[in-house]
Subunit: 214 residues, 2 copies
């Protein structure tokens, strides 16, 4: 494993950056050129301190009473997130959710390019979704090396998630976006980001439940 | 607004409960009857302290050296999350993601029953997805009251998210599961749980990005 000195930025701050981007792009479309952190805070329901802290994380230097140039803010945030260059990805597991992600237009703005998908079902292999081929899973490693893909989206059923992650790691994948409701075990240095619908639903349900009973 | 004294349980703990449930159900299928928090911790890559704290939150009383009865654990967690009874929901926005959620089988285990969906597109209205009708959005309030639905899934494009949330609140919805990449403003007492794919992708990208540059 390569030696990594990953700087641990606060996850809630990173999670807010796309919200800023989407607001800033809207302002840019409206020909606005400059915005203050106070205005951003008001629009997004945050505190001014939060916004200043989040923006400072990306290396932006504030100019008191003047505000930030929108273009500068956008490019700082995009650079910080690595969204200023295209990230190539594969998707494994072309079920309902996989298909939805393959069809999701929002990823274009985030410069995520899902080049191809993989599945084990003979009914799916050989077809295309929006121009992207569905290959047999057995060709994952070959294709990852051929196309220099280091990012993979995992949308297989829970019981196949760990073996799929193992296969991804073996193929040189550095980052896994995991949609399976499973805790994946991966070697140190491999990044896993979980999107757990169950976890999110648990929070919603528990909060609705506890509110009902008081 | 009703007076709510919501107990603030730690969100990371709530988010872990579905992981426990899925592991416990697997054990139950294997005819295992008793499990220790240490074993759960090992299997899920957590610490024993975390597991004991999370389980205690649901009101389970530990029995040192004996472990927990699996049936008891499952029912405590399900009760805590309100997953022991069916929660009826509507979905608004039958695009790719909405369709994926309508087809997602995992919600059955979580007792979430999406009764119907709503859209504004004449091409979609009147059709069915897995037996659930697609109604015009204009009928949302009428249907919510008729079927006593208090939970709604929001999967419309970002620019329509706030007005859709307003419509949901007006129709008596108490909890919104928001998949649009937008900060929703809702009256106090209404629960919003955000699933932001952009935020999750931001965390993955930033971590892959910062690892590459060290």
């Amino acid at each position: 494993m390569s030696e990594t000195k990953e700087r641990a930025y606060p996850v809630p701050s990173i999670r807010r950056l796309p919200l800023y981007l989407s607001f800033l792009r809207k302002l840019r479309d409206e020909k606005v050129e400059v915005v203050s952190s106070t205005r951003i805070a008001e629009e997004l329901g945050l505190t001014g301190i939060q916004v200043r802290k989040d923006l400072a994380m990306t290396g932006i230097v504030g100019r008191p009473k003047i505000g930030h140039t929108i273009n500068e803010l956008v490019s700082h945030i995009e650079c910080f997130l690595g969204w200023n260059q295209t990230r190539r990805a594969f998707l494994v597991g072309v079920g309902h959710l996989g298909t939805a992600l393959l069809g999701y237009k929002g990823f274009q703005q985030e410069n995520l390019d899902i080049l191809a998908s993989f599945d084990t079902s003979p009914q799916k292999i050989g077809k295309e979704i929006l121009g992207r081929p569905i290959y047999p899973l057995s060709r994952f490693e070959e294709k990852a090396k051929e196309l220099n893909v280091q990012c993979a989206i995992l949308t297989v059923p829970a019981q196949f998630a760990q073996e799929t992650a193992d296969l991804m790691v073996k193929a040189g994948i550095q980052g896994i976006w995991n949609f399976a409701p499973v805790q994946l075990f991966v070697p140190e240095g491999i990044i896993v980001e979980n999107v757990s619908l169950s976890s999110s639903l648990a929070v919603l349900s528990q909060r609705m439940n506890s509110q009902k009973t008081v």
